[in-house]
Symmetry: D3
Subunit: 239 residues, 6 copies
């Protein structure tokens, strides 16, 4: 089976990550995954949510947005949908899972992931790119002697997989995603352990075996994504 | 290992479902799962969202709420959190997955799941109870000759599983959930197929083998829940 | 004249109050008045509104809500109507009137009255049930030695009366209420003194004599309601 | 007993009503009651709320607002309080009670009552002045042959009464109101019948006899207010 | 060319400013400019926005509102339009420009400009009247020895000019404004210096020469307005 | 005088406009003006606001947004400030002024200007870039034979000028702008006519002569900007 854009079933789209894309942010990047383009910025705030006050621990939280015309149809600017909340909670949990929050000090890092152009995989690109912006922000903190080491325990990347017209595919484009029977988003570390797994079947239910095969496919994609992260960040993060 | 409430690791809490709990609703129930208590109502609306107009297909959507004092701490009444959006999207997708929407006609069923008392598992109880309310609403439609048969393809139930202090547990109470390293919500049909799988690790990542064992545990719980549903609904739904 | 539900003109509907209905709340009950069902919870907050800071006095405030399908027609979840504000202000004033706020210390009690099923009289049931929840919350404070005595000066209950097709009726059901020419809500103490009186005539104006007769009818109902409260609370409140 | 402003216990403050105060409105007035100043406008809308569509009946609804510095303390502009909702519902009900809505045609009249300066009695002044604006709007409709007669069944005015330091007083100023033990707002017709009665006791409960005396006092004030209305409107309304 | 209201091209409409119109405000006036009527109040707040904390400097900010029926068509009460924001920012900047904020102490003055009736020029009338209310508020501060002198550096007034059907006109009425090809609002001091200049051409662009002529016309109007201000305030402000 | 970034007083920053930056939009560009980066998209909607229904005329409206970390300090995502409204109204008016709306048909073009990075001049860059996106959208309409010609009457660009420490400067950076005594935004056509002129003096008032000199400076900048637009659009727009 050949996909519309010429990829094999187990290929990622072309990836490009430009670090330090926004001069004001503590960490930032532009991640391009095929036609999907997301600006990720990490902002430092010298305080923590109320439930962490006095614990010595830090916090990482994410917000996700889309430019009004990042999609085929214009989105109303003031409409924060349920989907948005679902995505920003996923990004936040995924990044917190690989950080030792107790080594951050009582500070918060806000990860803003803003979609400039959307063609499928915006939430997974946000996690993959967000990790890079986060590491750069930690590096800045380290250079200012605010933390003694970058408190990251492992690399983390995310990818989508799905079953489209009977085929298991890696890294779905928007068009593929809209025809998928089953759609999974997998977040994994460099050690192959799960951070998040979200599988959904609006059109058809799925078996354990199908899930298992999809996970294998995701594992391949994530391994490639983490190689790219590792290469980009080799000056600041050795794990 | 014995749990605080005396259950074995693979036991559900006591379950009680009172059908037709609200006299105005097309379908309704009160579901009690241990101390967790949720009122589920199904409301019929004779129209569909704009993207379905003219397709002949119906729609099912869910809303989720908590009474201000359903929790240990009072919740502000007007604050719809990201968690709320995440949950109501999950409920909606789970119920749509077992309904043949094309047999509903161009109408919408609103599932309202309102938590009277929360002690863990409110989202899974909402799915399990919501299914019952939905079937009763369809039965009413059928009795009014608006549909020729109940357009439900399979039973669906949901349960949480997790790893708490190294133990794999079925159906977490709030206290267990707040100490969990890994937390999964599984939505499954009577045929053992997946509708949704959501696994999360805020504290620790998890392996494929751990995920696999948790799924086995969930399968047991869901089988028991579906037996209860099947028994309750035997007058109207034979699958 | 016999009413649709078989009551005489001066009968209350059957009443049932289940104390401690919500395990987390400082005080709570489920009050059932015919088909009307309201969950009342009292929540303690260790602070007062700004206008009471430093005065040593406490505060009692109420919020009122309805589950989306508590009525014949589904209510939108995020819509707080003017009616809601009117009702919660009435509940708050009614309860404050029988409490010696200066003996509460600088703390606030939030009374949440949430309607599970509505069949007329939800605001009066909220006051009658709210009083029970409030007393239980005060009893908890007293047992924790935060206050030396329950600072309640008198019992308080509320009831609706009205003129329907020329008949003066006690405790209107929803259907009766929607045909009423005159509708009054009376809040009274066990000593027969008024806390609130609200009489309204959308369809027809009314005379002093009519008002006077309606008040007599209300007095009878309130006396019965206070007997029930007195009996329920006899372990903690002797007045 | 002499009041701070020199009035006897049963005197109204000086009243001044300027008709046609706003050139755009179908009806309007500025009502001054002592230092209280309210602009009332009546706006015609050629449609009715959804529950009246097709019934041939009209509707009257009210909105109430305060200029930010109409009070001693500046009010935030975007904050619509519960008090506001309570007041605008009262104004709407009071005016609907004296209008034969079935003779209005399917149109709505919006009564906007905006307080320029507040010194007690803003809600009662809104009703008294709102009635004048409403009649002028009906007169305009009649002159345009949209209705055959002014569909007003009776005059209506409102006044506050209360018990302040043991004295029963008519038409409370803000200062008197803030020291009142009991506070009543009475809305009455020229025939002495009640439209609304709202009695409240935040500080002290009250007896039937006290209520009765307060109503007598209100009756006197309302009779004077209706004389003023009758005189102002004699060119257009004979009842 | 004669204008509909009989004015010559370079005449202002009749102006009337009533000082101390609102008894509670630190400073206030009602300004009438033809049919346009605006209530301006100045409210003192003993704090400053966060960006001024600790600088010793004060702040002046403005809010602008319209009564629902101040216009030909009723405005929805809760709708704050973009136009509103644009106007209140203009008023705030204009008044700050003639005040030495460093002499105010760390306090804020809120200027509320509420339009009772709108017939063109509401934003310029708000500036002209707002200046009077501001000076009266400063005078009150001075009398309370909170400031040693009124920290106003110059008089400031505002006027609109425009090109309507080829004619350059001073002080446009609403009708003239709605037919204008070019519309300018000019804010100037008594020394003839600019505080703000805003020229807009929705229908036609304009040349430098046209702009220059319009400014001359505005200068004449502003000179007359400042004479009125100077005369009104002569007891408290000599500049 | 040499500016921090090495420019002479009358130099623009380097400009770069990438057309068709967003694949979904009818027209789009990324405009870079020094460090300022704005994505402009034009979206077609086949309807017009209510006040244009049935007139045959079209409409152009603009929205303006900033990514949360486009500035030195993170901006809250849901906060639409007064400044935002002021800017989007300016952009809309400026573009409408050079379009013959009557030739567009009854359709609306939405111009979204989203700031990716802000370093002064975001509103003027939005107008300059927005014009390019608008022309590309019109070209698309023309190629689909929906309009017979591009209904643009003239080129339009915008630039800021100001007085900083006594120097008149063209195209202020953020740092220059924050030290400016006078700040003007000028919108002009290729024929040197004004579309908008907005001059503001928070720190110091300004004379006619100063305004005149600033306008000369702006004219030079706008001429250079329009040369760039003309060159970019030469394939589709000859004026």
């Amino acid at each position: 089976m050949v996909r519309k854009d010429g990829r094999t079933f187990d290929s990622l789209r072309s990836i490009n990550i430009i670090r330090n894309y926004i001069k004001y942010a503590e960490g930032s990047c532009l991640i391009e995954l095929g036609n999907t383009r997301v600006v990720c910025t990490a902002t430092l705030e010298e305080s923590v949510p109320i439930f962490l006050k006095g614990t010595g621990s830090g916090w990482i939280t994410a917000e996700y947005g889309m430019l009004p015309r990042s999609c085929a149809t214009r989105i109303l600017r003031d409409k924060i949908s349920g989907r948005t909340y679902e995505i920003q909670r996923l990004i936040g949990r995924s990044l917190r899972a690989v950080v030792d929050l107790s080594l951050m000090g009582e500070r918060t890092i806000w990860l803003d992931c803003d979609v400039i152009q959307a063609d499928g995989g915006t939430r997974t690109a946000s996690i993959t790119g967000g990790f890079v912006a986060l590491c750069d922000a930690f590096d800045k903190l380290k250079k200012q002697n605010l933390i003694s080491k970058i408190p990251v325990k492992d690399f983390v990347s995310a990818v989508s997989v799905g079953i489209v017209e009977g085929n298991m595919l890696l890294d779905l484009s928007f068009e593929e995603d809209s025809h998928a029977d089953v759609d999974m988003n997998i977040v994994m570390t460099s050690k192959g352990k799960f951070v998040e797994i979200q599988g959904t079947s609006e059109k058809d239910t799925f078996t354990y075996e199908q899930m298992s095969s999809l996970i294998d496919l995701a594992r391949k994609g994530i391994s490639e994504l983490i190689d790219i992260q590792r290469n980009l960040l080799k000056g600041i993060l050795i794990l």
